[in-house]
Symmetry: C2
Subunit: 205 residues, 2 copies
């Protein structure tokens, strides 16, 4: 059972390693990986040790092997079908973001209640009526949902999610979620204001 | 000089503490704060020790005092003026997000090159011509910029930023930034795909 703090850092390592891979690099030292992600080399080695024994040559880790193993363990499957609830400004931006697709997360549906938006195509996915949430998420094997609706719509969305087979939720709405179901639903909250706190700290010092 | 990993956790603590404050709570134990942010109580106490001596009663920390001190140190000033470069789907969503304002980060301008967007009001800020970037950021005392343009526009935006007085940048574009200037510019990259890696790990186990 890997500590969540390690999982969070490993997501950063994967991104950094894929970036190095694109530049044609094949080996990386724990020192270099540490510098790119602002942790210590010891922390990098400790985090990676949760994911198995990586044969370390004199010069470092084999990037291809490490990316493959870390991604497999974090993702569990090669591709995930993801939906976005709320086809507004944020939902639209997320639906078009290529970074999800290149990480193996395919946005295959959006849901909204606005008749002006239902039926539209955004990115490579269609906007469906939220009333059809359960049917469509089941049909398209969607287990993950991104929530991007106004705060006042949260209770209604919680109900649709509870009655579906969604297992994980990425929540952008500044409200604590509660699902009226016995099924375990993983929740990650995103608050971009946290990034600005960190940025102002780095800027002022 | 506080380790960046601590600064990142402290941004989470602030958010959690403000949430408890809203619920009317006045004291919090390091155990409770740890549970809410998925770290150990020891880590909480160690992180807070970088920010000063917090008189700890038998039951815990005074929420009001801790939020005030952590925010002051992370922010350095009560309010920051922030601009968004790129008034597209993502830029629009960020401009309307109330979470920035309640943390003391005021979106006071957006910049774009599309004549259809220049002059529009989004959230409580106006969209200006990117050509006027230097003048307007100087006039409005803007030190932080959020970048939300397509990848192909990055070089042009880097030049505008280098020639301005921007000191910190929150970058949503999946490109490594380089600024042709001696001035130190803090950079934080956001890649929401990382959140999905963590979510799929939590979902599958
Ligand atoms: N956490 C962050 O960092 C962050 C950043 C930006 C925005 N946000 C949040 O994201 C949310 C969306 O922001 P936005 O600017 O895209 O808003 P928006 O108003 O542009 O879009 C909201 C969309 O949700 C739809 N909707 C409303 N009720 C619905 C329901 N019951 N079922 C399905 N769809 C419904 C609307 O029709 C609309 O299309 C807001 O809650 C905002 O606070 C968070
Ligand atoms: N990191 C993440 O998690 C994440 C998530 C979503 C989107 N994104 C990225 O954010 C960026 C914006 O996405 P979007 O969906 O809002 O795109 P968009 O096409 O809707 O908006 C881009 C805007 O930038 C403007 N623009 C283009 N060139 C410009 C220039 N030189 N100066 C000023 N403005 C300029 C366009 O006119 C447009 O208004 C993309 O690079 C996308 O990959 C990142």
């Amino acid at each position: 059972n890997i500590p969540i703090a390690s999982v969070e850092r490993v997501a950063k390592y994967i991104r950094c390693l894929k970036h190095l891979q694109k530049k044609g690099e094949e080996i990386v030292s724990s020192k270099k990986l540490a510098e790119h992600t602002q942790v210590t080399p010891e922390q990098v080695r400790k985090d990676l040790s949760y994911f198995g024994k990586f044969g370390k040559t004199g010069t470092g880790y084999n990037i291809k092997k490490v990316v493959k193993r870390l991604s497999n363990i974090l993702k569990g499957r090669k591709n995930w079908n993801v939906c976005i609830i709320g086809a507004g400004a944020l939902g639209t931006a997320l639906s078009r973001y290529q970074g999800f697709k290149s990480a193996g997360y395919n946005i295959v549906a959006l849901f909204d209640k606005d008749p002006e938006k239902i039926g539209k195509k955004i990115g490579s996915a269609e906007v469906y009526d939220i009333k059809k949430f359960s049917d469509i998420t089941k049909k398209k094997d969607i287990k993950l949902a991104i929530i991007a609706v106004p705060a006042e719509s949260i209770e209604e969305v919680e109900e649709y999610i509870a009655k579906s087979q969604i297992k994980g939720v990425l929540n952008f709405v500044p409200v604590t979620l509660n699902f009226n179901t016995k099924r375990k639903i993983a929740i990650i909250e995103v608050d971009l204001a946290q990034k600005l706190y960190i940025l102002s700290y780095l800027t002022k010092k």
